[in-house]
């Protein structure tokens, strides 16, 4: 899942380790999310959004096909 986590993190000058500790996961988990190798749980997505004071949709783009013709 595409995401803007790295951009948000860079904007506030946080390291991956800082963010990892802030949301109680490992630094590797933050790295995996930023590299699109791991999709976080809803709970972690909420934690990240709350941490950056934004909406989940601002952080994550699931690239859902919302065209009703494709249903």
């Amino acid at each position: 899942m595409k995401n803007e986590l790295r951009r948000y993190r860079d904007e506030v000058g946080l390291s991956q380790a800082d963010l990892a500790a802030a949301v109680s996961v490992s630094r590797q988990t933050i790295n995996a999310i930023e590299c699109d190798r791991y999709d976080p749980s809803i709970e972690l997505a909420f934690k990240l959004a709350r941490y950056f004071d934004c909406r989940i949709e601002d952080l994550f783009d699931p690239e859902l096909d919302t065209d009703p013709q494709n249903d």
């Binding site: 390291s15 990892a20 500790a21 802030a22 996961v25 490992s26 995996a32 749980s41």
Partner: protein, 137 residues
């Protein structure tokens, strides 16, 4: 946003707890092997169990979660891959060996027969665990 040094401290402590937990596990297994080689099998088993007990104790009583959701996800994926591998082995091995033995072409060695039954038992346990998860209230 929290203080960076306390966050780093949290990560460092978590890493330390994880190292202690896995260290106990490795010590238990190594101790078992060494004691067995030295002909102290009972002591070896005691060391082995102590190692595992220590691992679970650290995991249980550490002041933070030592395994995050990605660790759990990786564990699930690895378990799934292992089961698929076991399924392929069972599907190919069991009927082939049984048929060859039936036609008198091959006699299944006890170790292979044991492996087949172990695989079958693994899937029986999986089936029970799956149903228990599915229908738990």
């Amino acid at each position: 946003m929290a203080n960076n040094s306390s966050e780093h401290d949290w990560l460092t402590r978590r890493t330390r707890y994880r190292r202690v937990a896995f260290g106990l596990l490795v010590a238990g297994i190594t101790g078992f092997a060494l004691a067995d080689v030295a002909n102290y099998p009972v002591i070896g088993v005691a060391i082995y169990w102590l190692g595992f007990a220590g691992f679970f104790a650290v995991r249980r009583w550490a002041p933070m979660e030592l395994f995050d959701e990605r660790d759990c996800s990786l564990e699930r994926q690895a378990s799934y891959d292992t089961l698929r591998l076991a399924a392929v082995a069972l599907v190919l091995l069991a009927p082939t060996a049984a048929t060859l033995e039936e036609v008198g072409y091959y006699e299944i060695p006890p170790i292979v027969e044991g492996a087949i039954w172990s695989y079958a038992g693994l899937f029986a346990v999986f089936g029970v665990a799956y149903l228990a998860r599915r229908y738990r209230p």
